[in-house]
Each structure stands twice: as structure tokens, then as C-alpha cells.
């Protein structure tokens, strides 16, 4: 009964009610993560990456959020229809998450060991509220998990409090926690952003190696295109709650099609030097009065009349390469 895709998001809309009115944050996004596939979700601040992730993990607060339309199929089950208990069960075992800030994800008043034991015990159906069982099996698994993320002296780490560890070590602990129960799907939200360049590079290398050898499906959410390039196979570019483009990762960097992807890529400063482009004119829209049709149209250099009237579907331009832009429509958008 395994579903072909690990994660399938179909035409997801998420709105928020607030002081200014209703913010239409996600405007019909569709996204797939195949089994064993490493997928990137790239976008800038406020494009809806985090809301997407929260919806997938079932932690969206409803209300103020609303999901008027759409489905999120995680491992064959619709997240939006799951009970809290079911959700917790799959989150603890089959799905894992790595967060941006390792400090916020660890509880500062418990030792690393206790938190890691809890994660292991949870998967064994033990809620951990009873008396503490320090089975050697749990201990051994914890040690193995820490060794796997190459933390030196795992015995000492188990007895440390999160504050005694450096940022890089904390992130390694979180990776160990995320992988200890052998999940089949991992969501990583900017796992290197809070870390220094050299430390972040180490973490990314480690993470890519581990998921590759274990065949875990990954959704990596980040604003850093370099990270996307170095760790993913396929990428979705998101703009203002719409998917602009999806393509195998190397293609995006050689041959971006959507005007937004092009503008974004031209803004990235290069190690080889040279001028960077002027960026993209305008600013990210206010979601309460989001532009009609293609939300990028007010900032687009190639804007046509249809762009403001209808939201473009995903047009195939090459195998596996879809662009949500009327420029690539059959009639070139003449309708």
C-alpha cells in the first residue's frame, strides 16, 4: 500500500485572518517529493516556505489559519484529516524534522541524553511519563546515533546540557535525534543558516551523506541557492505563495526559465567576482491585497495582459521542468 510519493501537496491554499483582513498566503501550491528523493524548496522571506512546512507537519494553528482548498498527502495519508494522535505517531517515527536554530529545538533544562532517550522510547510506544527505564539497548542506540553524526566522546555528550555544546554540536545532536528512529522522510528548515560558514558546510556535508546512504526522502527548505545547488536533486522555486518553477537542480542553475528565478539567480554574488544585478524591482506583495493572476506580474519585465488576469498553470518546457509562467504557454499567452 505504499504510495508512490513520500509527500504530495495538491493545490494547497492557506489563508490567515488578521487585522488587515484575510491574507492569502498560499495560493494553490503543488509539490511532490518522491521516495528517496532530495527536494529543495527555495524562496525568499515571506514567500510561504514556513507556512508550507507547518502545514505538512500539521502544526498550523487553525484558526487564525484556514485551509479552504487543497490536500497534503504524507506517505499516503492526508495530513489535514488526521487526528492529533495519528499525526504525533507518524511525526515521532516515520517523519523527522531539523530546525533552523538548534538552540530553540532543544530543551535547555534537560541533558542531551534524556532528550535523546525520550525520542527513542517514543518510537517504542513508551510515552516516557512512567518511571525512567535506562535500558542498555536504548543507551546503545543513543551512542550509536551520536557516533553516526561524528560527535566525539558520545558518552560525555549524553551527559551534557545543550548550553554546554557549541552551535555545530547542537545541530549534530538534532540530526542524531531526527535520524535515530530510522525515519523515511526528513524536513530540514534552513539547517545551516544559524551556523558559521565552515561549520554550516560540515553540517550540510554530513546531512547529505547520511540521507544518501540511508535512502531518506528530504525536503530542504532554504533561501540559500548555493545550499540548494549542493544538496538537492530537484528544486521548487516559490514566490509569494505560488510555485514559480520546478526542475532538476542543475537545470535551474544553468537554464532558469521563470523571470523570478532568473532575477533571483542574477542577484547572487559569485565567488568568481563580477557585478551583481540590480535585483528584482519592487517588493514582495502584501498578502491581503496580493496581485491577481500571476503574483509576480507587477515586478516582471515580460508582463503581458493575461498575467494579471489568470494564474498560469505549470507549463512543461522540458521533461521534469515545469514553469508557472504564461511566457511558456502554448500560444505564448496570446489568449
Amino acid at each position: 500500500m505504499t504510495h508512490p510519493n513520500m509527500l504530495e501537496i495538491r493545490d494547497l491554499h492557506v489563508y490567515f485572518r488578521g487585522y488587515e483582513g484575510v491574507s492569502r498566503v498560499l495560493d494553490g501550491i503543488s509539490l511532490n517529493v518522491g521516495r528517496g528523493e532530495r527536494v529543495g524548496l527555495a524562496g525568499e522571506t515571506g514567500c510561504g516556505k514556513t507556512v508550507t512546512m507547518k502545514t505538512v507537519m500539521g502544526v498550523l494553528k487553525i484558526p487564525p489559519a484556514m485551509v479552504p482548498h487543497g490536500e497534503v498527502i504524507l506517505d499516503g495519508q492526508n495530513v489535514l484529516e488526521m487526528s492529533a494522535k495519528q499525526l504525533l505517531q507518524i511525526k515521532g517515527t516515520r517523519i523527522s524534522m531539523i530546525f533552523q536554530d538548534p538552540m530553540n529545538a532543544l530543551n535547555p533544562v534537560f541533558m542531551v541524553g534524556e532528550q535523546l532517550y525520550d525520542v527513542i522510547r517514543f518510537a517504542q510506544g513508551d510515552s516516557g511519563t512512567g518511571r525512567k527505564r535506562f535500558g542498555t539497548e536504548i543507551h546503545d542506540r543513543a551512542i550509536a546515533a551520536l557516533e553516526e553524526v561524528r560527535l566525539p566522546d558520545p558518552e560525555r555528550i549524553l551527559r551534557s546540557y545543550p548550553l554546554e555544546l557549541s552551535g555545530g554540536m547542537r545541530q549534530r545532536v538534532l540530526i542524531a535525534m531526527a535520524l535515530v528512529n530510522g525515519p523515511s522522510f526528513l524536513i530540514a528548515d534552513e539547517p545551516q543558516t544559524a551556523l558559521d560558514v565552515t561549520i554550516g558546510a560540515q553540517i550540510l556535508d554530513l546531512l547529505s551523506e547520511l540521507v544518501r546512504t540511508k535512502g531518506i526522502s528530504v525536503l530542504l527548505i532554504t533561501h540559500n541557492l548555493g545550499v540548494i545547488q549542493e544538496t538537492t536533486e530537484r528544486v521548487y522555486v516559490m514566490y509569494a505563495g505560488q510555485i514559480a518553477e520546478t526542475t532538476p537542480t542543475p537545470v535551474l542553475f544553468k537554464n532558469p526559465k521563470h523571470p523570478y528565478s532568473q532575477g533571483l539567480l542574477a542577484s547572487v554574488p559569485r565567488l568568481t567576482g563580477g557585478e551583481i544585478a540590480e535585483g528584482i524591482r519592487g517588493t514582495v506583495p502584501d498578502y491581503t491585497v496580493a496581485p491577481s493572476g500571476c503574483r509576480f506580474h507587477p515586478r516582471c519585465d515580460y508582463v503581458m495582459s493575461i498575467c494579471s488576469q489568470r494564474k498560469p498553470p505549470s507549463f512543461p518546457v522540458e521533461p521534469d521542468h515545469y514553469v508557472g509562467c504564461w511566457l511558456y504557454g502554448k500560444e505564448g499567452g496570446s489568449k
Binding site: R281, G282, P285
Partner: protein, 306 residues
């Protein structure tokens, strides 16, 4: 100059923004969040109701003359009824009227005590938090000493050393109360002074006084508002406590604490003499606390010591 569209608002770039509009927007947002929080709305309504009743006491009470030294021996110790909602006391005065006038005294106490202690405490807190080193040590250790004295005990000492009056009680409480505000503001100042906007003001050469009052103080405002609201309840409680012990409001002035203390002598038979003033205090303090909690949520205040 070349036009850079990045700077212009997306839609309707013709919109002129005025300071009035910006102000209205701020108020609008605040009111929106306040309105959505049933706790603060309830607390705010309770406090507002009491304040209105107290201000309009001579007009809304059925027997305004009963607020003072009035006697009507034909109707002493009457149980609550349609004409006397809260009953009458040992000299025939309407308890409801006296409770409403008692609110006047209680609120006055809160206003005077906080009016004296808050500015003093805030100023010392700003100075202590901003200038670290010896100044901070002196101010904070002095604060600690004062903190070690419970306000009620201090007030008892002062009031019993002289003839007890409500004014002296207020002064006594105020002389202790500033310490809380000093500690709170010092803590906030210590964290705000490391913010980059303070360093930015230092970099352009602003004076210490300008930084303290233009950069740091406005950023304490939310926390201060919450603290003052919560404090108002506590000050009223202390005031009532003093009156109960006979060191605050002196008869025939109606004080809620005084009324409870008199009523206690007639318990349990003449229960209304105690119960209604007690409920009145309870209602007002609950109102202030709910309002304070609501404000805290609304203004996102996370500070130590509130």
C-alpha cells in the same frame, strides 16, 4: 535621481502617508488585538465600570449623603433589599453607597502611590541600568534593602509612629513601592542598551540624556503599562489592609478595608456588612489583574519581574 521602484509602494504609490495615519494605524492594531482577547476585554470593562462609578458616585448612588457622618437609627442593620441593595450598617447608612464611595478612596490611593513611586523608580532604574559600575551597584543595593521591607509592615511602622491618616499611609506605601519599578526598568534598560539602535545613537554622538529618554524609555513603555496595571490592584489591596488594621481611612470616611473591619464584628449574622465590601475589593483587583494579563499578551511584554 533615477527612480528606483523598489522604494515605492506597490499599489497606489500616490497614497500620501501622514503622521496622523501612522498613528491611527498603530492605535487600530492595538485595539484589534485588545478586542480579540476576551480576558483583557473583561478586565478592562470591570476597571472602567468601577472608575466610572467612582467618578460619578454622587449621581449614581441612591443615598449620596450616607457617604459621610450620617445617621438614621430607624433603619439600622437592614438586610439587603430593593431599597438597600447591600443592606445598611449599624447607623443606618446604605452599604452600596458607601462601597461606591469607598472605591473613590481606593482608586485615589492607587493613583497617588503610583504617581509618586513610578516616576522615581523609573528614573533610578534607567540610570542604574544604563550606567553600569558603581552607580548601578549603589542604586541596586539600596533597592534591595528597601525590597526587604514588606510595604505593609513599613506602612504600619510609619502610621503607628504618627497619628494614622490615609495620606501618611499613602506616603508610606509609596516610599517602598518604587523599588519594584526600579528593578523592572533597570533590567529592561540593561538589555535595551546593548541593542544596536542605542549604539547607533552613540555613534552619531547623542548625549546620555537623549539616549535614556528618547531611545530607552519609550521601549520600556509596554512593560511599564502592564506593571502599573497589575500594581494598581496590589496597592489597593495594601490600602485596604491598612484600613482594616485601622491605620488607613478613618471613619466616617468610607474605606473598603474599614468597612470590612467593622463588619467583621457583626459576623456571621450581619454578613452583608463584610461580604459586599470584600466582593467589591475582589472585583476591582480581579479587573486590574485580568486587564494587566491581557495587556501583557497584547503588548508582547516579556520582562523579568512583572
Amino acid at each position: 535621481m533615477e527612480a528606483d521602484e523598489s522604494a515605492l509602494p506597490l499599489e497606489g504609490s500616490k497614497i500620501t502617508i501622514t503622521s496622523w495615519m501612522a498613528f491611527k494605524d498603530k492605535i487600530g492594531r492595538g485595539w484589534y488585538r485588545f478586542r480579540r482577547n476576551p480576558i483583557s476585554l473583561a478586565g478592562g470593562s470591570m476597571v472602567l465600570l468601577v472608575i466610572l462609578l467612582a467618578i460619578l458616585a454622587p449621581y449614581v448612588t441612591p443615598y449620596p449623603r450616607h457617604a459621610g457622618a450620617f445617621t438614621d437609627f430607624s433603619s439600622t442593620f437592614q438586610a439587603p433589599s430593593g431599597s438597600h441593595w447591600f443592606g445598611t450598617d449599624e447607623v443606618g447608612r446604605d452599604v452600596f453607597t458607601r462601597v461606591i464611595f469607598g472605591y473613590r478612596v481606593s482608586l485615589m490611593m492607587a493613583v497617588v502611590v503610583l504617581g509618586l513611586s513610578v516616576p522615581f523608580g523609573v528614573f533610578l532604574g534607567l540610570v542604574a541600568g544604563y550606567f553600569s559600575g558603581r552607580i548601578e551597584t549603589v542604586i541596586m543595593r539600596t533597592t534591595d534593602i528597601f525590597l526587604a521591607l514588606p510595604p505593609l509592615v513599613m506602612a504600619l511602622a510609619i502610621c503607628s509612629a504618627f497619628t494614622p491618616t490615609i495620606e501618611k499611609a499613602m506616603l508610606a506605601v509609596a516610599s517602598i513601592w518604587w523599588t519594584w519599578h526600579c528593578r523592572l526598568i533597570a533590567g529592561i534598560t540593561r538589555s535595551i542598551k546593548t541593542e544596536e539602535f542605542v549604539q547607533a545613537s552613540q555613534a552619531i554622538g547623542s548625549s546620555h540624556a537623549r539616549i535614556l529618554f528618547k531611545d530607552i524609555l519609550p521601549n520600556c513603555a509596554s512593560a511599564l503599562m502592564v506593571k502599573i496595571t497589575l500594581d494598581a490592584g496590589f496597592v489597593i489591596l495594601v490600602g485596604a489592609g491598612l484600613s482594616f488594621l485601622g491605620l488607613g481611612v478613618q471613619p466616617p470616611k468610607p474605606g473598603l478595608g474599614t468597612m470590612i473591619s467593622y463588619g467583621a464584628q457583626h459576623l456571621p449574622m450581619k454578613w452583608w456588612l463584610t461580604v459586599f465590601p470584600s466582593l467589591a475589593i475582589f472585583f476591582l483587583i480581579l479587573g486590574f489583574n485580568l486587564l494587566g494579563d491581557g495587556l501583557r499578551d497584547m503588548l508582547d511584554v516579556e520582562a523579568e519581574g512583572i
